[in-house]
Symmetry: C2
Subunit: 276 residues, 2 copies
């Protein structure tokens, strides 16, 4: 593990860490914000999964989360959104597949299966590294935006007991039923839709037994709302399973980090209720 | 005037505006954040001048200022850092001169004098446009970072009565005495140092008669502290003129927007004391 940079922020420290990932078989970079409380004791962690085209940097630069994390005493970890340094045919051609668009799945299709193991990386390898090398207490929650909102929901729903809190901004709720999801799931997992279900929140949540309160914010002016994100599919699935979903349709907000920054404090306080 | 984009943020609106600048004889873009209070009444404005390489976007995306501006009811205006669309020899070759580096001066040297009139643009044309087209009440303050901190200090010091409040992050305090400043001032204004003085805060503040309280934050781990920024020069000039400077050396902080975001709330409250 190599510390690329250390930056003071709200009395704590933002680190960018480069390491060799076993899961992805390549060098990966993640960011971790350690609040000032981490100098004295171990703290809980919020994992944040970013959306298409992002790296570990977008959320830390634009969401304004460190202020609240520093107040509450919560660390934040932001992984990258795909393996890097590989160069498969077409990998860098589109914003919604390949680099920057790992979709938090473990790919089974060639050539992606050699490296695109973002589900394993995010749910197993990365928390292992964080727990081993940083002053964290093992209590963690998960959240994310868009593709990362999808990732957060899937990681939570498939790992009862692992995460103590969950939320999302503008998640891709039902990837089996939208263009972004179909392109990614067929490309990484093949055409058999039975293999897509483990990565589809609207399908998974119908069978959820653990039912942590789920907070979702979604802007009404989001360009991707009706074609890609489809929160109604998740809402219907939650109703079917009596799942406690608080879906807040935020009037006038779009898909940007200006939207996230406006409501991130609510999300951090939602996680703090479970993590602290 | 053309509205390029309108984005909801903390209950208010962030607009990017494109217009033909008379001062700079080219199209210019600025950003304005209107807090929710501006829907009901006119509000004061904080002008923010950004540093080298920035556009109207950096501060709005990374500083986290909208949250506090929305609470206080203060608009924020961010101009670009240079004319755009021109293509003089060498204009785009270096990060510290030419495009992205207008230094908030009115150039007198060819070819820059045809367009690089950022002092006139920021102190006269832009406030005129803002006052004419947006729900603002004419009360304004000014702040900025690095090159923009220099700009904020100079604009304030040369226009007594125009700004009701002033602050800066990591300003270039004495541009006549650092490499960034000497390159810019000689390039835009020529070699006669008498023409540099109107753009040098440490020289101007010695003669200041209006003495609004000046808040400056400066990180101790800023890579540019001793060679370019030199807050000690401004501090000495303030002592000589009994000028009320609060210079806060912030332990461990660097030159980045992570530093700005940590302390921007203090600055907005400093301005609010005078503006509200």
């Amino acid at each position: 593990m190599e510390t690329i940079s250390t930056t003071a922020s709200f009395g704590g420290e933002l680190l960018r860490i480069k390491h060799r990932s076993q899961a992805c078989d390549c060098d990966m970079i993640f960011a971790i914000y350690l609040p000032p409380q981490a100098k004295e004791k171990s703290v809980p962690v919020l994992y944040w999964l970013s959306g298409l085209t992002c790296t570990d940097e977008n959320f830390m630069q634009k969401a304004g989360a460190q202020r609240v994390a520093a107040e509450l005493g919560i660390a934040i970890v932001c992984p990258d959104t795909s393996p890097r340094g590989t160069d498969f045919a077409g990998e860098h051609d589109s914003y919604d597949f390949g680099s920057g668009a790992g979709f938090y799945v473990d790919a089974t299709e060639e050539p992606w299966s050699a490296n695109y193991k973002m589900y394993d990386y995010v749910t197993r390898e990365l928390p292992g590294l964080v727990n081993e090398h940083f002053p964290v207490n093992g209590r963690c929650g998960i959240s994310g935006h868009s593709m990362g909102g999808h990732g957060a929901l899937v990681c939570y729903l498939r790992n009862p007991g692992k995460y103590l809190s969950v939320s999302a901004f503008s998640p891709i709720c039902h990837p089996s039923d939208c263009a972004w999801g179909q392109k990614a799931l067929s490309g990484y997992l093949g055409e058999d839709r039975n293999n897509w279900k483990p990565y589809d929140a609207a399908l998974l949540i119908v069978d959820a037994e653990e039912k942590l309160p789920l907070l979702i914010d979604q802007g009404t002016e989001d360009d991707f709302l009706s074609d890609q994100l489809k929160p109604g599919t998740l809402e219907q699935a939650c109703i079917a399973n009596h799942y406690p979903l608080e879906l807040r349709m935020q009037e006038g907000y779009d898909h940007s980090y200006f939207f996230i920054s406006t409501f991130i404090e609510d999300h951090l306080r939602h996680h703090a209720e479970a993590l602290l």
